[in-house]
Amino acid sequence: MSPPLAPKLIVTASPHVRSQDSTPVIMWNVVGALVPVIAAAAWFFGVSALLVIATATLGALLTERAIGRGGTVADGSAMITGLLLGLSLPAGLPLWMAFLGGAFGIGFGKLVWGGLGQNVFNPALVGRAFLQAAFPVAITTWPVPGGGFWSLKGDLFAFPFTHPSPDAITSATPLGLLKFEGKGTELMHLVFGDTGGSLGETAALVILAGGIFLAIKRYLNWRIPAGILITVALFSAVIHLIDPRRPDALFMLFSGGLMLGAVYMATDLVTSPVTNRGRWLFAVGIGLLVVVIRIWGGLPEGVMYAILFMNALVPFINRATQPRVFGTGGRVAA
């Protein structure tokens, strides 16, 4: 007298229940949190912004689709890579370069490592570092924000593999102005983003809001952005105190890609440490490097390199900050 049961019982391992969050849910939530940032970029740079971001994303998705292990586009991580890469590019970058960057980031930043979760370096930043090294002039040519929504910036449609024709109106980023011409920028302009720079540099407040949303949902670890921002603020404040010609903390916080990097890139789960102590170390390391490169380095901006460098240290940090196993070490009863 067997009770009516499905044809065959299922046997799975315990635990037989699981929490609500799944990897694709996390990823698509991050994509959602990026939408306002993209909208802000479009507000400042018009349709060019959307074209650059879309092309970078297309490069990432097509590569994932072509050489990934089947069905991995749906998990949303390649989408994030593409969007973040796009957001870190200037509005007038020729689209063929944006596409190449996306493909490179996914191909060499993720798929050769074995796909989602296996990579050590942030794929979006690998793509961007490649573009910066390959086409340093194009990627440091910053169109001025504003103009009509439909007016195209730069030479977006340069034929693949050819130079873009030079754009008449370009501007310098606040950090470039500071480093090369010793000029500061008004804080208001920084906060509201109507300065030259990459697409995602210009909307600090929107980025911060997205970050807070994700942190509350526990999709990103608040320690990393907090650690980075605090370190940058403190360190640059100290330097500013010692040498007032150096920029102050607020300028450092709101200029360049720091917000985007701290909130969306350094927090990449895959390429940041797994322990909380490790996350603090990682964040402080990024903060210090950002300031060091901005102030003493040759390049005006250092967020990308700081994150990549600390990515390389992550396996090391993970090893060094292994949790203390229950019942060992100091707090154990005699």
């Binding site: 060499f108 490649f130 090294a133 194009a138 340069a158 034929f159 593999f161 050819t162 873009p164």
Partner: protein, 226 residues
């Protein structure tokens, strides 16, 4: 020669442990180019491979110089192998190699000063290329001069060809030219990345991935066929 399974012979006549099995000269040469290619298979001499392959001319020059040293030192080591005392053999080999490197350096400086300047310290650094000492110890010291020369030539060719391949890719993409001749025309946007250090690593990486891909594809096919 057959290697017999016995304890180290003392007094038993001439047994060169580890001596390479007999092979034709052609095989000695071919091995270095293919199955035991120093760059793509053995990963030896990585420093010059990375450092000088930013232009094809440099790559070829380094390859040829290395080939010269391989052949010359192989010949010398083989000729004098009976007279070199065991304890100082490494030092002696290095001395021989260094001599040939210096000769190559001097000759290059006199004939192609521009390339010589571009190669800079990587020319004398050939001495430290593990490939040379490795071949001297493992091959030249155990065979006759003809075979030593053949092996040196094969290894040198393998090295030169690999360097030429890598440097051609790097120069083509990084400068749009080959041997300084414009290939893609003036509109081409060069990928500066390729001639910089990460580009060097990546180019070799891509070459290895390609090689592995071909090998894997072949293996798959062979498996499918039976």
């Amino acid at each position: 020669m057959t290697t017999t399974a016995s304890a180290p012979p003392s007094g038993t006549p001439a047994f060169v442990p580890g001596a390479p099995p007999p092979a034709s000269l052609a095989a000695d040469i071919w091995r270095g180019i293919s199955r035991e290619n120093p760059v793509l298979v053995q990963f030896l001499g990585m420093c010059p491979t990375m450092a000088v392959t930013n232009t094809l001319a440099n790559g070829i020059a380094m390859g040829v110089a290395t080939l010269f040293v391989l052949v010359g030192s192989g010949l010398m080591v083989s000729l004098f192998r009976k007279y070199i005392a065991h304890e100082v053999r490494i030092t002696s080999y290095i001395l021989i190699i260094a001599t040939f490197v210096t000769l190559a350096d001097l000759i290059l400086a006199a004939t192609f000063p521009v390339i010589s300047k571009a190669l800079g310290p990587f020319m004398p650094l050939i001495v430290a290329n593990c490939l040379l000492l490795g071949r001297a110890e493992a091959f030249a010291a155990k065979v006759g001069p003809l075979r030593a020369v053949a092996d040196g030539f094969g290894m040198g060719m393998g090295f030169t060809l690999s360097l030429a391949l890598l440097s051609a890719i790097r120069e083509l993409l990084g400068r749009g030219s080959l041997l300084n001749h414009d290939v893609f025309g003036p509109r081409f946007e060069p990928w500066v990345f390729m001639v910089m250090p990460p580009g060097g690593f990546l180019t070799l990486g891509i070459a290895l991935l390609g090689l592995a891909f071909i090998i894997e594809a072949r293996r798959r096919r062979a498996e499918r066929l039976g």
